[in-house]
């Protein structure tokens, strides 16, 4: 138990460090990058909507970035603002608040990521286990392995472009862009659900295919190495059913490293999903960032980036908490 507490403490430290790092980098970057981007943001601000909101906007910014105060004072003010959940206003869509824009986009990204990650991880792991266990060198299996290798080495966005071309243009089964038909309103009806699924199919497929390849390959090599372990030979010698050995002895022991991989790949996965959203015009955070880049809407970029980094760190932390229950070795061994 003491070891577990120490372990959790260490992981918590990393979580804390990540959050502080993210906030600090977001704070420091505009001040470090040459060419006075702060000035550019202010200039952009004063040029937006010469009307009512303008004054308030600039005042809000002067307060948030307090350019006349010393840097450490600015930093503390900024942290206080963040703690209150205040991310400021969007420039391009004034008077929309950054947090509102993010929370409109967030469900799409989270939904897409959640479904694709779980699906690809499950399918890839099970397929990899079966293929790795068989150890056969048949043409089919070799072809599957090569295919997985190709899928895994293909960047998300390239697969996305190819899928878009194939299934939205050549054979137009799926829509070209968006998350639902223009003109419909999000509601819980059957027709709308089908529409959402149809729109999500291609982005999801491009993410699933790429990560599937990775999970498949890593599970397969894990299984191949596990097959040589003494406890498997022992299980075989005891005369257990091969199916039982595969799932109870092999698969279970490969699950932990496979789960650890999931946490490590999350950052990469999120990055890939963001670009995929852009290609499919899918209205998640990636698309929000993309349109904010076009509109020089720095507050929105800032807020989205910070939010994603912190969420990824939180998810990683949650997974770290769970590992020891999947595998007690972590509790015993040193945390390095």
């Amino acid at each position: 138990m003491r070891a577990y507490v120490a372990y959790v403490g260490q992981r918590f430290l990393i979580l804390l460090a990540t959050i502080i790092l993210a906030m600090t980098i977001v704070f420091l970057l505009p001040r470090l990058v040459p060419g006075d981007p702060m000035g550019a943001i202010m200039a952009k601000l004063s040029s937006v909507g010469a009307g009512r909101g303008n004054e308030a906007l600039i005042r809000d910014y002067m307060e948030r970035f307090g350019l006349n105060k010393p840097v450490w004072q600015q930093y503390i003010d900024y942290l206080v603002q963040l703690a209150q959940g205040n991310l400021g206003y969007s420039i391009a869509n004034f008077p929309a608040k950054v947090s509102d824009l993010i929370f409109t986009a967030l469900p799409w990204t989270v939904g897409l990521l959640l479904v694709t990650t779980v699906l690809s991880w499950l399918i890839g792991s099970v397929l990899g286990a079966v293929v790795g266990w068989r150890e056969s060198k048949s043409v089919t299996i070799r072809a599957v392995v090569v295919l997985a290798l190709v899928a895994y080495t293909t960047p998300y966005y390239i697969l996305a472009i190819l899928l878009l071309f194939a299934f939205a243009f050549l054979v137009p089964i799926f829509p070209l862009a968006g998350a639902y038909e223009v003109g419909t309103k999000p509601e819980f009806t059957f027709a709308f659900t089908v529409d959402v699924l149809r729109h999500a199919a291609l982005p999801a497929m491009s993410i699933i295919l790429v990560s599937l390849g990775w999970w498949f390959l890593s599970m397969r090599s894990l299984m191949i190495s596990i097959k040589g372990e003494d406890y498997i030979l022992w299980a075989e010698a005891k005369g257990l059913f091969p199916r039982r050995i595969l799932w109870r002895y092999g698969f279970r022991n490969a699950l932990l490293p496979q789960a650890t991989g999931l946490a490590l790949s999350l950052g990469y996965l999120v990055g890939g999903a963001l670009v995929t959203e852009v290609i499919f015009g899918y209205p998640g955070i990636g698309w929000l960032i993309f349109s904010s880049i076009k509109g020089l809407d720095y507050p929105v970029i800032q807020g989205s980036v910070m939010l994603i980094i912190i969420s990824v760190a939180l998810v990683n932390f949650a997974m770290d908490l769970i590992y020891p229950f999947i595998d007690p070795r972590i509790r015993q061994a040193q945390t390095g």
């Binding site: 070891a3 507490v5 120490a6 372990y7 061994a333 040193q334 945390t335 390095g336």
Partner: protein, 282 residues
Amino acid sequence: MTPLLQARDVTKIFKGGLGDRAATVALKNFTLALDAEQPTIIAVVGESGSGKTTMGRMLLGLERPTTGEILYRGKNLLRLAREEAKQFRIEVQAIFQDPFGVYNSFYRVDHVLTVPIEKFGLAHNANESRAMIERALKAVGLKPEDTLGRYPNQLSGGQRQRIMIARALLLRPKVIIADEPVSMIDASLRESILKNLLQLKQEFGISIIYITHDLTTAYQISDSIIVLYRGEVVEQGGVELVNDPQHPYTKLLISSIPVPDPNRPWGEDEEWSQSAHAERTV
């Protein structure tokens, strides 16, 4: 007279990871003084896990004691000035167990010989360095033309270990700590390697701390013996103690030496090993 090398009440504890309570006491209150004026061979005998290797590594300054101190000419190893540290490295040398792992496979075997010459500034030019190396190789019975310029995997274990002896000899140390120098050598070559060690003492006046699990070879070449058992010294004295062991573990060690007598039945000393086993599992 301050001893050249001294271990004073040294304890080494290996800790597990963060918050891990399972710590291992590798060595407990170990004390040893080596006065190198009179060359001598001290054997440190013990089974694996007895702490003998840890002891050797601490004497070499490769590992820090948890408590207690290692002194070189009366000064704590951790507080040596730059020049003293260099002198210590030259005077206290080592031969290791694994005659393959001690070589960096990227380099030819010459590497282990040229590096100390370069680092300690022992030669003024390449010729002098070459001559030193050849002298040292010849001293341990190797032909320079057969050894230099080769990769470690092109030489036999015996040759590789002799190069390591030559390497130590190059520096003209006062003490060599030899950690199981023959245990990974082909049995037929052990004798000649042991002779090399003996020769280091007799011809070159180098003292040796001979770390081994093998009481027979210890008896053959050493002047005194220290028996380590689970990190503690259980017996210590002149090499004659083998004839009259006091501690049960020493007795067990002696009785487990195989005697090449076909008439003597196996398992005669079973009783001993059983009682020792019982003691160990307590």
